[in-house]
């Protein structure tokens, strides 16, 4: 591996380890507002759901526990969350 390849390999490794999470199966990073500690409400905001309307849950294996919008989560890199709306309407068109 030459120097250029080594540099690219290192950068690509660093990129993979940059803090990020997945919300509703979409990736978000620091530029989107991801940080080491986040509230459930801040996680919901990443997918545009206001805290008063949001239900936030873990999306990892058997851990589907609900996270309150004011609860603080210590973010693990690459962690998955699901955010849904409390109210869903159906059956009509405006």
């Amino acid at each position: 591996m030459d120097e250029k390849e080594k540099k690219e390999h290192k950068e690509s490794g660093e990129k993979a380890h940059e803090l990020h999470i997945f919300v509703n199966r979409r990736k978000f990073g620091r530029g989107d507002g991801v940080k080491e500690q986040m509230t459930g409400g801040e996680i919901a905001a990443l997918v545009g759901v206001p805290p008063e309307a949001a239900v936030v849950r873990h999306d990892s294996g058997h851990d589907k526990a609900e996270i309150g919008v004011n609860d603080v989560v210590h973010i693990k890199n690459g962690e998955h969350f699901l955010v849904t709306r409390k109210v869903v309407e159906g059956g009509y068109v405006a």
Binding site: G48, V88, Y92
Partner: protein, 133 residues
């Protein structure tokens, strides 16, 4: 319909381990596989596949509707599930489209083609499959 755009949107979900495919079955559909579902209903499956038609004029036209296999236990329980919007044959299965219109006063906010797409419609499907009757 911008096929390239849709494939990019589905690639965003794929990075998060959500499989979704663009199908041509008379018209175009996106098939989402294994969406988490059921909320707190222990008698229901934990995941389901959902089909969504690609609207004519997409992305200028809003994504609308959602379909489940005709024998799905979710069909009578999801919002709009009892109001059939048509039957679809795709992926070797028969699907029924439900009357679910998240971007037309259905709770998902107005359609914005600059930020919405099949990757964000997944959010609407998650909510639909969790808030059951």
């Amino acid at each position: 319909m911008s096929r390239e755009r849709i494939l990019k949107e589905l690639e965003i979900l794929r990075e998060g381990q959500q499989i979704a495919e663009l199908l041509s079955a008379g018209r175009d559909y996106v098939l989402y596989r294994g969406i988490p579902a059921g909320g707190a209903h222990p008698s229901l499956p934990t995941v389901t596949d959902v089909i969504v038609p690609v609207p004519n004029g997409y992305p200028g036209a809003a994504i609308d509707l959602a379909g489940l296999p005709v024998d799905s236990a979710f069909l009578p329980r999801v919002k709009g599930g009892r109001n059939s919007q048509g039957i679809v044959q795709a992926d070797g299965r028969t699907w029924q489209l439900a009357s679910y219109h998240p971007h037309q006063n259905g709770g998902g906010g107005p359609w914005d083609q600059m930020k919405n797409g099949f990757h964000t419609y997944f959010d609407q499907l998650l909510s639909w499959l969790e808030r059951l009757d």
